[in-house]
């Protein structure tokens, strides 16, 4: 049992150990395997295929398992390391300690969005992007998207998601009501209602806006907070649970496209039920 800490409370030694373990996973090739996995399982909801990571009920359990797998790799290198979480409703500044030289480094420069500071700056030689959809070999960010500003989710916006007593609802996709989509944050184009998880990806910009988002190590801190928020929703609604409990029936357009409570999630063949809690594995510092 280990603890995931709020990133703002990490000591400089803890920050150094976390980034050192991440850099070592990059060096030995493990990191880029994780980047490919995330991209591979992003299936949009107009497709007929199985959606496991996004636009679907298994958004939370799939990412929980994905983070645990990554954390196992980190802890094999340094058993004192865990994934910190970033509460983006409180640490909202693009110059907060999260983005400092001794942790994740700052925003990208204006010309090409290249991150120039911190351990993941290209010039350091330890962070070359190999799984990307652009020619950029360097990590990119565009914090706050100044040319078309976007703000981080507010506490009220987050609460609006947590307050929904329904985990998810038919058609179980990016148009569905319920806690999952309110937190994942899909909305209509041009709507002001882009929310929470999606808006954080947009706010960070650069690699974090794309399918290879885990190229930016802040991905893990963002999703650790998303994981904590699933806990918070469960505590708020103890009589609600994961839906759908059973697979959509024959004739339902979503049959074969979403994961029910006891169905296996690729690539691990672990069911959402097995991911509902994390007792005995890790806990969150509050």
């Amino acid at each position: 049992m280990y603890t995931r800490q709020n990133q703002k409370n990490l000591t400089s030694t803890q920050k150094r150990r976390f980034t050192a373990a991440v850099l070592e996973l990059k060096r030995n090739g493990t990191y880029d395997r994780f980047v490919r996995t995330h991209d591979k399982y992003f299936v949009p909801d107009r497709d007929r295929g199985l959606r496991v990571g996004h636009m679907s009920p298994s958004f939370f359990p799939w990412h929980r398992r994905y983070l645990v797998e990554f954390e196992k790799e980190l802890r094999a290198l340094d058993p004192g390391v865990s994934i910190p979480y970033w509460d983006w409703t409180t640490d909202t500044s693009p110059v907060s300690s999260l983005w400092a030289e001794d942790f994740l480094g700052g925003t990208g420069r204006s010309s090409d969005r290249q991150v120039m500071t911190g351990p993941f700056a290209y010039a350091r030689g330890d962070w070359t992007i190999t799984v990307g959809i652009t020619e950029a070999r360097y990590l990119t960010r565009n914090l706050g998207r100044p040319q078309n500003p976007v703000t981080l989710p507010t506490p009220a916006e987050l609460q609006w998601a947590i307050d929904d007593p329904t985990y998810d609802a038919s058609p179980w996709d990016s148009t569905a009501g319920g806690f999952r989509n309110r937190l994942e944050g899909w909305a209509a184009p041009k709507s002001e209602r882009w929310r929470n998880h999606n808006k954080v990806h947009q706010w960070i910009g650069g690699h974090m806006t794309g399918g290879t988002a885990p190229n930016d190590p802040v991905f893990w801190l963002h999703h650790a907070f998303v994981d904590l928020l699933w806990d918070r929703w469960q505590q708020r609604h103890p009589s609600s649970g994961y839906r759908p409990a059973t697979a959509p029936l024959p004739g339902d357009a979503q049959r074969g496209r979403v994961i029910a409570l006891d169905e296996p999630m690729p690539p691990w063949n672990i069911s959402p039920r097995e991911m509902l809690g994390h007792q005995g594995v890790y806990r969150y510092e509050v």
């Binding site: 490919r36 991209d39 591979k40 399982y41 992003f42 299936v43 949009p44 909801d45 107009r46 497709d47 295929g49 636009m55 990208g108 204006s110 010309s111 090409d112 969005r113 799984v131 990307g132 959809i133 652009t134 020619e135 950029a136 990119t140 565009n142 100044p146 040319q147 078309n148 058609p171 996709d173 990016s174 148009t175 944050g185 899909w186 209509a188 184009p189 041009k190 882009w194 998880h197 999606n198 808006k199 990806h201 947009q202 910009g205 650069g206 806006t209 794309g210 399918g211 290879t212 988002a213």
Partner: protein
Amino acid sequence: MFAAPAAAPLTRRAVLRTAFTAAVLAGTAAALAPVLRARRPRQTLTPAPFAEETYRGRHIAVELAGTAVRIDGRPLHVMRRADGSYLSGINHFQSFATPLELARAAVDELGTTQLAPAAPHHGG
């Protein structure tokens, strides 16, 4: 930092060529309407049903009858959402009403970078 968004309008030639090609391909009165609105149609032998524009110095080509998008000649991976809107490999967590808006947003995010000649696709 970039200047304020300033989309150059489709060149007249591109509009005429793409609209006329679409009309020829579809051969319907509905498809002819944009040609008539363009007032001075000119036939071309180039079968390129793409709408083109220059946006922030980048060349955008959007397939009129489909979802293919190219930026400076490089293909951008385009996906659809259940509500019909469009997502790209560059913008995975935001969707757009049209492929052209999607292409402009990708240019905004790319900065001075180019798309890779062959981007990885999902489900591979």
